[in-house]
Amino acid sequence: MPVHSREGTEMERPEQATGRAAGSEPDYRFTLANERTFLAWFRTALALIAGGVAVVQLVPALAFPGTRHVLGILLAVAGGGLSSAAVLRWRGVQAAMRREEDLPPTRIPVILGLGLAALTTFLVVLLLLSRRPG
């Protein structure tokens, strides 16, 4: 039985959820939360692309010629990859919610975090090497 309170009109009782047909659309709040999570990843991807351009345009020349461009290209490609990964993640989560299964695990945050940490360390080392003595 659906709950008829003000809040309950948009929710179902747990026992009702278990009897729901497989493949049904989830509650609109879950659909929108999934969409906003995709958009958060999408913005991260766009920030990586813009960061790639910024590295080439704004960072001063480093110790090794061409390093800025390689970093910029890597960041732009990473942004494209993250954008694609975000769609796959969104699709996987939406499908799991339709089937009322647990959300699939993801390693994207860990990979992104490690990648950014490695990039930051690499850039700091390069900037230190680029410093002229005196």
């Binding site: 659906p2 009109t9 948009e10 179902e12 009702q16 729901r20 049904s24 659309e25 989830p26 509650d27 609109y28 709040r29 659909t31 929108l32 999934n34 969409e35 906003r36 995709f38 958009l39 958060a40 999408f42 913005r43 991807a45 766009l46 920030a47 990586l48 692309i49 813009a50 790639g52 351009v53 910024a54 080439v56 345009q57 704004l58 061409g66 461009h69 910029g72 290209i73 732009a76 490609v77 942004g79 494209g80 990859g81 954008s83 694609s84 975000a86 769609v87 969104w90 699709r91 939406q94």
Partner: protein, 105 residues
């Protein structure tokens, strides 16, 4: 509640439009890569920003016209076209950016 959820989602789309605009501004800041490629990339970035804003409006309208299914649950379409379209466009722009930066070496 639904209007607020729609508003938050539309704002999330509109915030996303700032990314390509920032990339376009950075491309105009200095000269990097071939001029034609740079101009095309800036145009693509601005176009993507406009499309993202349009997607946000479209989603907001759709969220405001949600339906109740047979079990009394309120559902809304998943926005798959907008999601996939935006991601494909961003991936294409990312590759275009990489090419322009590569020619700038």
């Amino acid at each position: 509640m639904r209007a607020a959820a729609g508003e938050r989602t539309e704002l999330a789309w509109e915030r996303s439009a700032l990314g390509p605009l920032a990339a376009a501004a950075l491309l105009l800041f200095h000269h990097v890569g071939p001029t034609l490629g740079r101009v095309l990339l800036v145009a693509a970035d601005v176009l993507l920003a406009l499309v993202i804003i349009w997607f946000g409006r479209r989603r907001d309208r759709r969220i405001r016209s949600v339906r109740t299914d047979s079990s009394g649950r309120i559902t809304v379409s998943d926005g798959g076209r907008e999601v996939v379209g935006a991601a494909v466009a961003a991936t294409a722009i990312a590759l275009g950016t990489a090419v322009v930066l590569a020619f700038g070496t």
